[in-house]
């Protein structure tokens, strides 16, 4: 579905089968522009170098017209004489012999960015009732009280504190875990950081983490077996689940790794532990290949695979939930309620929260589905459960918000409360890591994978 709002079109799921991890993609009109907040220093002009005859950036109309005509003529050409359309006069500022470079010191004419957070993950501190929201856009963790409820006419709710800044080493972090014993904040970075940072429960501002564990590239989700004090880490690709000592740091190696063809792991994302049944739940997006075998790639349906909690190596799953009736579509964070025997799964592109029976297997429909316009779900990527208050927290990547529901909510249920960090009804750019860009000349649209 292409959604247009104020010149912004969100192309969601184009890369469904193309992307391995944070893969929402965005399409925006060429002239779309976002302005930084007044509090932001924004751009700092370092220097302007006058360029003879080149300082004017507005092009003569005839140049626009000529270029546009050439572009438009592709439509009529049917590809029969494309080279003719491309031919132009080569005019160079300098020759190879002149050995001169003309420096162009002008400012950008447009900047497309989102000044508000993109909440990729959420965590809940059962001891204090605080909600932690991880921001992929501004590289921060914002902490709110669970009772926060942004009024409809308010622009946003301000957090009680924010962990943010160069010293924090927060980057494109994709999951948090709050230690139920001491409130330590664990957060894992999915891309260039390749690490798990641990902050003290009261960390605030530009604070360095108190512990750092290097983990495999594409580490995505973390959880802890508190009884055995083991830290579980999912890795998108090569697909695996690594298990470390809970307090591991530095370059410490995992105690064991679940990986191999028998595991049926395929682009691993969410993980969760059933501490009663002693089982490990893993969800998979279904993109798979052997990185050292040419042409071995294939696509499979998304799935949830279940293993003994002490599984190691190439262990086959005990059960697999997979198939069209499951409605799995970019599953993300999970939670197992051992008392109710239920598994909660965020379903980002499905715009839903799915609840399965913990012993389900095969192509089974969810027991409950939280979905619909009243839910205000918008690319729900992560969840947290408040067992004490029987509430389900969701972070919405698409609206810079967190919404909370009764734990047993089913269907199109409105949230009990909403924490918004952006104006109501804002459609986020959903930028997660704008590494690449290309331009659609026919539609004058900018294509950005994340």
């Amino acid at each position: 579905m292409r959604v247009k709002r104020k010149g912004i079109a969100a192309l969601v799921g184009l890369m469904l089968t193309a992307m391995g991890f944070w893969g929402l993609s965005t399409v925006v009109k060429r002239t779309s522009s976002f302005t930084p907040p007044e509090s932001s220093p924004g751009y700092r002009l370092v220097s302007i170098q006058q360029v003879p005859d080149l300082a004017e950036i507005c092009l003569p109309e005839e140049e626009h017209a000529g270029a546009a005509a050439r572009s438009a003529s592709f439509d009529k050409n049917d590809g029969n004489d494309v080279l003719a359309l491309l031919r132009g006069t080569s005019v160079y500022a300098a020759s190879q012999e002149s050995a001169q470079t003309v420096e162009v010191g002008r400012q950008p004419v447009r900047r497309l960015w989102d000044t508000d957070p993109s909440y990729g993950s959420i965590a809940f501190d059962t001891r204090t009732g605080k909600v932690f929201l991880q921001d992929l856009n501004l590289w921060a963790i914002r902490i709110f009280d669970r009772t926060t409820n942004t009024p409809a006419n308010a622009v946003r709710s301000e957090p009680e504190r924010v962990i943010q800044g160069k010293e924090t080493e927060l980057q494109f972090n994709t999951c948090m875990y709050i230690d139920p014993k001491n409130g330590d904040i664990y957060t894992v970075e999915n891309d260039v950081g390749d690490s798990i940072k641990v902050f003290s429960q009261d960390a605030s501002g530009n604070t360095a983490p108190k512990r750092n564990l290097k983990v495999t590239h594409r580490a995505h989700t973390i959880t802890v077996d508190e009884e055995k004090e083991e830290l579980f880490v999912s890795v998108n690709y090569p697909p695996q689940v690594e298990v470390y000592r809970k307090t591991a740091s530095g370059n410490e190696k995992p105690l064991r790794v679940v990986t191999g063809e028998s595991t049926r792991l395929a682009d691993v994302h969410g993980i969760a532990i059933d501490d009663k049944a002693k089982e490990l739940f893993v969800n998979n997006w279904g993109h798979i290949s052997q990185y050292n075998v040419p042409g071995s790639g294939r696509f499979e349906d998304p799935s949830i695979t279940v293993y003994p909690l002490d599984a190691s190596g190439d262990t086959a799953p005990l059960r697999v939930i997979q198939g069209p009736r499951t409605q799995l579509d970019w599953p993300g964070a999970m939670f197992v309620d051992p008392d109710k025997g239920e598994v909660y799964v965020t379903n980002s592109v499905g715009q839903s929260i799915l609840v399965f029976g913990a012993k389900d297997k095969g192509d089974v429909p969810p027991r409950r589905i939280l979905k619909g316009p009243r839910t205000r779900l918008s690319y729900p990527a992560s969840l947290a459960v408040d067992i004490k208050n029987q509430e389900l927290w969701i972070s919405n990547l698409g609206s810079a918000s967190a919404t909370v529901y009764p734990l047993t909510a089913n269907g199109d249920v409105a949230p009990l409360r909403t924490i918004r960090s952006a104006p109501a009804n804002k459609v986020s750019l959903k930028f997660g890591k704008t590494q690449a860009v290309t331009y659609d000349t026919k539609r004058e649209e900018i294509l950005v994978p994340n």
Partner: protein, 253 residues
């Protein structure tokens, strides 16, 4: 994903599937969960990435109906393997388990980096490869262990390695990252340690280090995507994702 392509001749979007060793082609106007119109995948394709970044870029030559896919080494980052990467060239209309029509690979090509980005100049019939702070310029149909016909490299050239770069065929301009986290433009006719013709000091002006690059010839603009890198690359705005558009008519004239 470090690079993908829009084919303006056929109005299609070409991407690779990083983890599933595939090339996917979508309609240009694709939206939502629309399936690709073609998929290149399977044992005949020879497609190979690596453990660290898998596959991460692809280019298209709509004029000559070809798709270029730079391969990885099938290794884990940091491992040393006695192998060379390759550039696979597929027919644009290939679909299914299809072998590449050409492979550019071998010690004489000087292609020794991992998944080097590729750009095609269909007007001058050239293929340009960026790696190890150099542009290697080949005849477009070069195949096998063929040496480049020109190499732009050296301290005066300022060429830097990057995730992707572009060639604007009508003026023969190569637009890519250069030293000082700037963006420079060279000519496809350059050879040797040749300084760039034009330079935008993007980091100096904006505080951002560029990641992606796209051309908008109709409006004579260049688009840069920027994504936070951490460490000293911490922009004053604290906004870690952006697309910056610069007017740069000089490279189009």
């Amino acid at each position: 994903m470090h690079g993908f392509a829009y084919d303006d001749v056929h109005d299609e979007i070409v991407v690779n599937s990083p983890l599933a060793q595939a090339i996917l082609t979508f309609r240009g106007g694709a939206s939502g969960e629309e399936p690709p119109v073609r998929v290149i995948q399977g044992t005949q394709t020879q497609i190979l990435g690596d453990a660290y970044s898998a596959l991460d870029k692809v280019s298209v030559d709509g004029v000559n109906n070809e798709i270029y896919l730079p391969l990885g080494l099938g290794d884990v980052r940091g491992q040393s393997r006695d192998t060379l990467p390759a550039i696979l060239v597929f027919d644009r209309l290939a679909n299914g388990n299809v072998a590449p029509k050409r492979i550019l690979k071998g010690p004489r090509t000087q292609i020794v980096g991992n998944k080097p980005p590729v750009a095609i100049d269909p007007l001058h019939n050239l293929v340009v490869v960026n790696l190890n702070n150099a542009f290697l310029i080949f005849d477009r149909t070069a195949s096998g262990d063929t040496p480049p016909k020109a190499v732009i490299r050296g301290p005066r050239s300022q060429v830097a390695s990057t995730g992707n770069f572009r060639v604007y065929a009508p003026t023969g301009m190569i637009v890519g990252r250069c030293s000082g986290e700037s963006v420079c433009a060279w000519s496809v006719n350059d050879n040797g340690d040749v300084p760039p013709r034009w330079k935008i000091p993007v980091k100096q002006i904006t505080g951002y280090r560029i990641s992606g690059l796209a051309l908008d010839p109709a409006h004579k603009e260049v688009l840069f995507s920027v994504a936070g890198w951490g460490g000293d690359d911490y922009p004053a705005s604290r906004i870690m994702n952006a697309v910056l558009t610069f007017s740069w008519p000089e490279i189009y004239n």
